[in-house]
C-alpha cells in the first residue's frame, strides 16, 4: 500500500484504477471490521446461572437454621420440609398445576388484552400533541396508583367473576405498556426520523417503518413492566375476591391458607406466585429484550 502511495506521478494516479481502489478498500474493511463473538456456554453457566443458584441455596440454609434454632413458633414459620410436603401433597392430588394454570391463563390473557389496548393508546399519546397534553399526565399518574385500589369498585361494578379480574389487570398493565411505548418513541434519535422522512416514510408509513421499530427497546421495557403489573394486580384481585365461580388460583390458595391457619400453604402460594412471575419474565421477556438489543448492537458485553 505504501508503494502505491509514494508513486504519485500523474500517470500512475490515472491508472490508479478501480481495481487498486477495490483492493485498498477491501484491506481497510478487513482492518476495520468489528468482530462480534458470543460468550461460550460454560462462561454463561459460571457467570449467570451459578450466582442465583447459590443465593437461593443460602436462603434455604438460613431458613433451616432459623427452624433449628426455634426462633419462633411452628405456626408462624413452617420448615422448608413442611412446605415441600405441601407441594408433594398438592401434586399428588393433582391440584398443583390447576392452581398455577388458573392464575397464569388469566394473567396472560389479561396481559394480551392490555397489549392490544395499550399499544395504540401509547402510539396516540406519543404522536398526537393534543392527546398527549390531555391524557399523558393521567396515564403516568395511573402507574403510581396501586391497582389493588381498583378491586372494590370493580367488584361492585362487574360482580365477582372473571370480568372483574380482567378489568383490574387492564387498569394495572395498560398504563405501563402505553408509557413504555411513549418513552420508546421519545428516545428515537431525531436523525432516524429525518432519515426516514427523506426516504419518503411519512405519516402512517413513517409510523410503521420507522417509529415502531425504532421504539422497540422502550416498548419492550414497558411490556416487561406491564407483565409485572398484570401479575401483581391479578394476585391482589384473587386474594381479595374469592367466590366458587372464580376457581382456585394462586391468590385464592394464599387466602385459603390464611383462613385455615396453614402457614405452609401460605408459603407455598407465595413461592408459586414468585416463581411464576420470574419464570414468565425469564422465559419470554428477557430473551426477547436481549435479542432486540443484541441485534442492534446495544448489548455491551462485560
Amino acid at each position: 500500500m505504501a508503494s502505491t502511495d509514494t508513486t504519485t506521478a500523474e500517470d500512475a494516479a490515472v491508472k490508479a484504477t478501480a481495481e487498486d481502489l477495490a483492493g485498498l478498500e477491501a484491506g481497510l474493511d478487513a482492518l476495520d471490521a468489528v468482530r462480534v463473538s458470543r460468550t461460550p456456554v460454560r462462561q454463561v453457566l459460571v457467570q449467570k446461572v451459578l450466582p442465583p443458584v447459590v443465593a437461593v441455596a443460602l436462603v434455604l440454609i438460613v431458613w433451616q437454621v432459623l427452624i433449628w434454632a426455634k426462633v419462633t413458633d411452628d405456626y408462624k414459620l413452617p420448615s422448608p420440609s413442611q412446605v415441600w410436603d405441601e407441594v408433594t401433597n398438592a401434586w399428588a392430588q393433582g391440584t398443583l398445576l390447576g392452581y398455577i394454570w388458573t392464575s397464569v391463563s388469566r394473567g396472560l390473557l389479561g396481559f394480551l388484552l392490555a397489549l392490544v389496548i395499550g399499544t395504540p393508546l401509547g402510539l396516540l399519546v406519543a404522536r398526537v400533541k393534543v392527546v398527549r397534553a390531555a391524557i399523558g399526565p393521567v396515564l403516568s399518574g395511573l402507574q403510581s396508583l396501586p391497582s389493588v385500589a381498583w378491586v372494590p369498585p370493580a367488584v361492585i361494578w362487574l360482580g365477582l367473576d372473571d370480568k372483574m379480574m380482567y378489568a383490574v389487570i387492564l387498569l394495572g398493565a395498560v398504563p405501563s405498556i402505553a408509557n413504555g411505548l411513549v418513552a420508546g418513541v421519545d428516545q428515537i434519535p431525531p436523525l432516524h426520523l429525518r432519515a426516514g422522512q427523506t426516504l419518503g416514510a411519512t405519516g402512517l408509513r413513517g409510523t410503521w417503518h420507522i417509529v415502531l421499530p425504532a421504539s422497540l427497546p422502550g416498548y419492550l421495557a414497558g411490556l416487561k413492566q406491564g407483565w409485572a403489573f398484570s401479575w401483581r394486580s391479578l394476585m391482589a384481585a384473587e386474594i381479595i375476591a374469592s367466590s366458587p365461580d372464580l376457581g382456585v388460583g394462586l391468590g385464592q390458595l394464599l387466602e385459603q391458607g390464611r383462613e385455615t391457619s396453614s402457614m405452609s400453604m401460605v408459603f407455598l402460594a407465595i413461592f408459586l406466585i414468585l416463581i411464576v412471575g420470574i419464570a414468565i419474565d425469564l422465559l419470554i421477556f428477557s430473551p426477547l429484550e436481549r435479542w432486540v438489543l443484541r441485534s442492534r448492537g446495544l448489548l455491551v458485553k462485560n
Binding site: L21, D29, T198, S295
Partner: protein
C-alpha cells in the same frame, strides 16, 4: 478535461437543472427576534454536476441543504428539484440499526415503490456498486465507520433521485478512510451521473471533489464567490493543482471570517 467542463456548462443551459435555488432566504425566530440565516441565495445545480458548498460555522450550509431536501421551508424565495425528492446523506450514517445493511437499502426501494420481487437483487447491485458485495446480511454495528457511510451512500442511491445532497458525510471518518471514500464517491458519481450538492467546511475536500466550489459567507449566509475547478479527475487531495486552488479559496474564506471579528 477542459472539454468535459465545457460540455457540462452547455448541459446546464440546455437540459435545465437538477436543483434551482432562487433568491432563497431563511430566518429563524429566536428570543431576540428574527435571525436571518440565509440571505438571498441563488444557485443552480446542473444535471450530473458536482457542486460543493463551502463555509465556516454559521454560514447556514446545513440549513440550505435541509431546505433543498424539503425538510424545511424557505422564508422567501423558491426551490425546485425537478428530479423528485432529493436523497440526503448525513454526517452520521443514519442507517436503521434494527435492519441489516441490505434491508436498509430495501426499505428505501420499498418506499420508492420498487416491487418486492426486484428489491433483493437491486439491493445487492447497489451494495456491489459501493463494493460491499458481502455485506447484505450484516448488522449496522458490525460495520466499520467507512463501511456504514458506503451503505448509507447505497441507500441514498436506492432512492434513484437525480440529486444527491451530502451534509459533511465524511467529516467523522479517519483521514485514510476519508481519502478512499473521496475516490469512491468520484467513481460512483461518474458511473451514475447523479448531481451532487456536497456541503463541507474542508477546503481541500471541496476542491478534491467538485466541479464547482461555492463559498458562503457567515451570519447571514450569502454566496461570497464561486470557482470552477478545472482539474482532471481522478484527482488526489495531494495534487499541486488542488493545493494551489485550496490556498486561494482558504485566503478568501479567512477574509470572510475576519470580517466578523471587526465589529
Amino acid at each position: 478535461m477542459a472539454t468535459t467542463t465545457l460540455t457540462k456548462a452547455e448541459d446546464r443551459t440546455a437540459v435545465g437543472h437538477a436543483a434551482r435555488i432562487d433568491h432563497v432566504s431563511k430566518s429563524f425566530g429566536g428570543p431576540e427576534g428574527q435571525q436571518l440565516v440565509l440571505d438571498d441565495i441563488t444557485l443552480d445545480v446542473a444535471p450530473g454536476e458536482f457542486v460543493t458548498l463551502l463555509g465556516a460555522s454559521g454560514c447556514g450550509k446545513s440549513t440550505l441543504l435541509n431546505l433543498v431536501a424539503g425538510l424545511d421551508r424557505p422564508t422567501a424565495g423558491s426551490i425546485e428539484t425537478p428530479g423528485g425528492r432529493p436523497a440526503l446523506m448525513f454526517q452520521e450514517h443514519a442507517l436503521f440499526p434494527w435492519l441489516t445493511a441490505g434491508k436498509n437499502i430495501e426499505l428505501a426501494l420499498r418506499l420508492r415503490g420498487v416491487p418486492k420481487s426486484d428489491r433483493r437483487q437491486e439491493a445487492e447491485r447497489l451494495l456491489e456498486l459501493v463494493r460491499l458485495g458481502g455485506a447484505y446480511g450484516k448488522r449496522v454495528h458490525e460495520l466499520s465507520g467507512g463501511m456504514r457511510q458506503r451503505v448509507a451512500m447505497a441507500r441514498a442511491l436506492a432512492q434513484d433521485s437525480q440529486l444527491l445532497l451530502m451534509d459533511e458525510p465524511f467529516a467523522a471518518l479517519d483521514a485514510i478512510t476519508r481519502d478512499v471514500l473521496h475516490d469512491e464517491l468520484t467513481r460512483i458519481w461518474r458511473e451514475t451521473n447523479v448531481s451532487v450538492l456536497f456541503v463541507t467546511h474542508n477546503v481541500r475536500e471541496a476542491v478534491r471533489l467538485a466541479q464547482r466550489v461555492v463559498l458562503l459567507s457567515s451570519r447571514p449566509g450569502r454566496i461570497a464567490r464561486e470557482w470552477t475547478v478545472d482539474i482532471d479527475q481522478p484527482r488526489r487531495i495531494e495534487d499541486t493543482a488542488v493545493a494551489e486552488l485550496s490556498v486561494e479559496i482558504t485566503e478568501q474564506l479567512r477574509g470572510e471570517i475576519r470580517r466578523h471579528g471587526q465589529h
